[in-house]
Amino acid sequence: MPASGNNFLPQNMMQQQNLSLRQQLYTSVYTTVYSPCGKYLAAGNNYGYCAIFSLPGSLAFEATENSWKPIFTFKVSEDGPVYSMTTTNRELICGCSGYIKAWLWSNIIKRTNKLAWSLIIPTKSFSVSEINSMVTDDRDGNKNLFAGCGDNLIYIFDLENSSLKSTLSGHKDYIHCVTMCNTRSEFVSASEDGSVRIWDPRSKNEAIHIIEPYRNEMCARPEFGKWLGCVTMDTGDDWLVCGGGPQLSLWHMRSLSATITFETPNSCQKHALIHEDTVLSAGSEPYVFHWSLNGELKAQIPCTPTYVYKVDVNTTSESNKVLCIAGNSSKIDVCTNFNYKAFSLTFPPCS
């Protein structure tokens, strides 16, 4: 007879429980992406797992705690976190340490873990470079993937034949964020070295413009460093928003000058996006800030993670148009109305 109920559990089961509890506690979600149909949300965490959530299910009338759990979880990376994610019309693409993996959405929806393809970042040294940010460009018949990596380089892959088209160098430190221009073929990157570089993929190795917010007295904040965590463009490509160590700021693209700063005295912004006429940004504070383009703080919405890595609006499906907030928590906050947190999706520990 066992002395007590607790002792009845085998040692390794207890450990398992503890471990998964701790895992849950230490889960960070670095990246999220919506499926092209807008009905699913994919999230990648620091244990290398990817979880798929159903948005209609979690928004349903009869939704409960259970419907806020993933419908499907699978392992992406054996040796590190999932750093970045992006999507094409067909595939979910995950960036890990040194390699890129892709799954077909059609398979994912069927809940089958069937790898579509993978790419390896060519390394010159023994170290592997993590892929911090990815963006796809499928305009003009192209099917390009831009990956900003930890080795200060940006790789451009052609997804048609899975070949490396070119490598762009110029950044002096690792790259945080890569984003596409909406109307032109140019793309933009932000790096730890404090510069935003605007590239034209056709003109090969040279950045066409460089912005250095840490040198601008309006946005420089030496106490937070010069690194830039985020960069984003408005729909007309007239304005660029970037921030990090320096104050989040709005830059006029033609004159390449800072016009407005969005002041967050206590935090650095890690992610920013322009949604309609609002700039949404979040970073090292448990808030999502809503700014009007003239720099006025419209709202400051409390959220669960204390450090936010990703804020994303589902624009492809009107009925699932939600705002998801991911960060250093296993909870991914969902806002139906962007002004308050409606509920949280849970990324459970996986093993």
């Binding site: 009869e62 419209k298 709202a299 919405i301 009925s319 139906t336 109305n337 002004n339 308050y340 409606a342």
Partner: protein, 668 residues
């Protein structure tokens, strides 16, 4: 009774009706009242006929749809007829309810103006008792016809009218038992089937197009459910005293308030600024019920008015939970934890109200004030709704409140014996002698009249032949004694004003006889004394005035014994101290020399007085003497050798003191 036999009800009724109808086109129905008065027949029967005729007229005019002004005229006529006692008092009300029953709501609103105007008429003695029930019934009928959400203004008018009509103490409309309106259920979609069913219903009507529109925006059903579930707690607050429902309530309320506090509405202001200012004056909107469609939730969250409604509901609800209400079950008490939650939540709600534009601060303050007043009503209800009319004793209170003129003495008494400064040292001294004037007058010290025995004791002894007193030395021959004796006798002796046949005798003779009389009346140990009346010397009695002036003018000539008397009077004979004699004062004055000024200071003379003494005389002794005399006269009460001795001692002239008052040591 012959007249009444002649009276035919039907004839009268139709005749009256015809008469009324005749006046109808000129809108002067009241003209027919004299006609009715002149009509033959019994008063009460005529009344009945007119009542009926008026109702007939109403039927006719409404049927022919004459319009509001005619209805008005009919009603006014009925009122006038009733005031002149031509028809019964209830007729105007019967007609009113007839009219209201038959006309459209639009016309009702017009006619109701008349009802409102006539409130004072309805409240008059003639109509109140006869009509109050009719009016109440009429108003309730009207309210039943009106829509609570469409005709809010008219409903409000009717309610206001009723509250004006009935006295404040009328309790018929009062929710005495503090019951809740449990019928006020807020319906919302609680079951998924329900909402799906609705969707399907609509889809049937409008095809698939609707489906997309239906699912246009993502809906936070979680909040939706929790939000509308709160309404049920607001409807029936006693649910919260059950543990389980309390927990549900707390979680729901927390969620809703968190959503509110996250979803700040301050961006409204900026967007409004961008828009035209003309948008500012918002029309007052009122909805009796919430619209609970899930699709409205996002809009409702963004609506500051809506938010206010809900937050105020919270406040009212929370006030009830803690308020002592008479009809609340005794075990409906909150625990400590619940109270803490209530308190923090209340603060949160007020904060949210303050944050809610426009003018959140003012709004929150007003709500707080209104709820404070609500507490008073609650207390009033708990006390069994006491009448608001004040009772008669109120007038007494009014009398008491009349301002009393304060006397300075009262101030002094109130100060409890502490000296009150009057600004002038002399005034201060005088006022502080005895604060209570009455007491001061009754004081023993104020009795200056010596008793007969005391005053005449020496004279009686002298009158005794055995004393062998020299006639000249007898007191009775002394002018001052004579004067004083006469005055004292006038006040004290019963023999003074006796009727006598004897011719007037000389004063000493008279006094001798009086003294003998007194001696007889006085009890032993003294034996009877006899006086030789004839031997008394004749001395003209000086007039009291002369004598008084003599004393005033030339104090120095008065024998020392006078001082004694003076002093005796002043001291009321109670002091053991020997009085200061003129001689002693002279001695002191001589002894002082240049030190007289010091003594003056010691005796509380002011500088200007000292300067006056200084200037008055050349000789130092004279100055000192003047000073001492003034002191002696002013310082009526404590003018004893002791005082002077102490004063001398203070200025270091102890030898002089000992020399002048060798025997005063013992006393002080």
């Amino acid at each position: 009774m012959a007249a009444s036999m002649d009276f035919d009800f039907r004839v009268a009724r139709s005749e009256f009706r015809v008469a009324l109808q005749g006046f109808l086109p000129q809108k002067a129905l009241s003209e027919c009242i004299p006609h009715v008065q002149n009509y033959h027949g019994n008063e009460s029967e005529k009344k009945l006929a007119l009542d009926q005729a008026l109702r007939d007229i109403v039927k006719i005019v409404v049927h022919e749809d004459h319009g509001c002004s005619v209805y008005r005229d009919v009603i006014n006529t009925a009122i006038e007829a009733a005031t002149q006692d031509v028809c019964s008092a209830s007729t105007p009300f019967v007609i009113l309810s007839d009219v209201f029953d038959m006309i459209t709501l639009e016309q009702c609103e017009d006619i109701f103006n008349l009802v409102e105007e006539k409130v004072s008429t309805w409240k008059s003695d003639t109509f109140y008792d006869a009509g109050k029930n009719y009016l109440l019934r009429m108003c309730n009928d009207l309210l039943r016809r009106l829509s609570k959400s469409q005709n809010t203004v008219f409903c409000g008018r009717i309610q206001l009218f009723l509250s004006r009509l009935f006295p404040l103490s009328e309790k018929s409309a009062l929710n005495l038992m503090s019951q809740f309106n449990l019928d006020n259920v807020t319906l919302y979609n609680t079951k998924p089937e329900e909402s799906r069913l609705r969707k399907n219903d609509r889809m049937e009507f409008e095809d698939g197009e609707m489906e997309e529109a239906n699912s246009m925006v993502p809906i936070d059903y979680n909040l939706y459910r929790k939000f509308w579930a709160l309404q049920d707690f607001f409807r029936k607050p006693v649910q919260c005293y059950e543990k389980l429902s309390w927990m549900t309530f707390v979680s729901n309320a927390d969620e809703v308030l968190t959503a509110f506090s996250s979803y700040k509405l301050d961006d409204m202001k900026t967007s409004r600024k961008k828009l035209d200012k003309s948008y500012m004056p918002e029309a007052q909107t009122y909805f009796a019920k919430y619209l609970t469609s899930e699709k409205l939730l996002n809009l409702q969250l963004a609506d500051s008015n809506f938010r206010r409604y809900v937050l105020v509901q919270f406040l009212i609800f929370m006030q009830y939970l803690n308020a002592p209400v008479k009809f609340k079950n005794a075990n409906y008490v909150l625990t400590e934890d619940q109270n803490v939650w209530l308190k923090t939540t209340e603060e949160k709600v007020y904060l949210l109200l303050k944050e809610t534009p426009p003018d959140g601060e003012i709004f929150a303050k007003s709500i707080q004030h209104i709820l404070k007043r609500e507490e008073n009503w609650n207390v009033w209800k708990n006390d069994g709704c006491p009448s608001f009319e004040r009772n008669k004793p109120a007038t007494d209170v009014h009398h008491k409140q009349r301002v009393k003129r304060k006397s300075l003495g009262a101030d002094l008494m109130a100060s409890g014996g502490k000296i009150i400064k009057m600004g002038n040292p002399e005034l201060t001294r005088l006022w502080n002698l005895c604060p209570d004037n009455n007491e001061a007058c009754k004081s023993e010290k104020r009795i200056f009249l010596p008793t007969l025995e005391d005053f005449f004791v020496d004279a009686i002894e002298q009158a005794d032949p055995e004393a062998m007193m020299d006639e000249d030395l007898k007191l009775v021959n002394e002018q001052v004694f004579q004067w004083k004796a006469l005055r004292l006798l006038a006040r004290r002796s019963p023999h003074f004003f006796t009727h006598t046949h004897q011719p007037a005798v000389s004063l000493p003779v008279y006094l001798e006889s009086m003294v003998t009389k007194l001696a007889k009346e006085m009890p032993p140990p003294h034996e009877e004394m006899k006086t030789d009346i004839g031997e008394e010397e004749e001395i003209k009695a000086p007039s009291p005035e002369e004598d008084g002036e003599e004393i005033k003018n030339d104090g120095a000539d008065i024998p020392a014994s006078t001082w004694k008397f003076n002093s005796d009077f002043l001291q009321g004979g109670s002091s053991d101290d020997l009085p200061i004699t003129k001689q002693q004062i002279l001695e002191v004055a001589e002894g002082l020399g240049n030190d007289w000024k010091k003594l003056a200071v010691e005796l509380n003379f002011l500088d200007d007085m000292i300067a006056y003494f200084d200037s008055e005389n050349q000789d130092i002794t004279q100055k000192a003497l003047k000073m001492l005399t003034v002191w002696f006269e002013n310082e009526a009460e404590p003018a004893t050798p002791g005082c002077l001795r102490t004063a001398l001692n203070e200025i270091g002239l102890l030898e002089l003191a000992d020399q002048v008052f060798p025997d005063a040591d013992g006393n002080n």
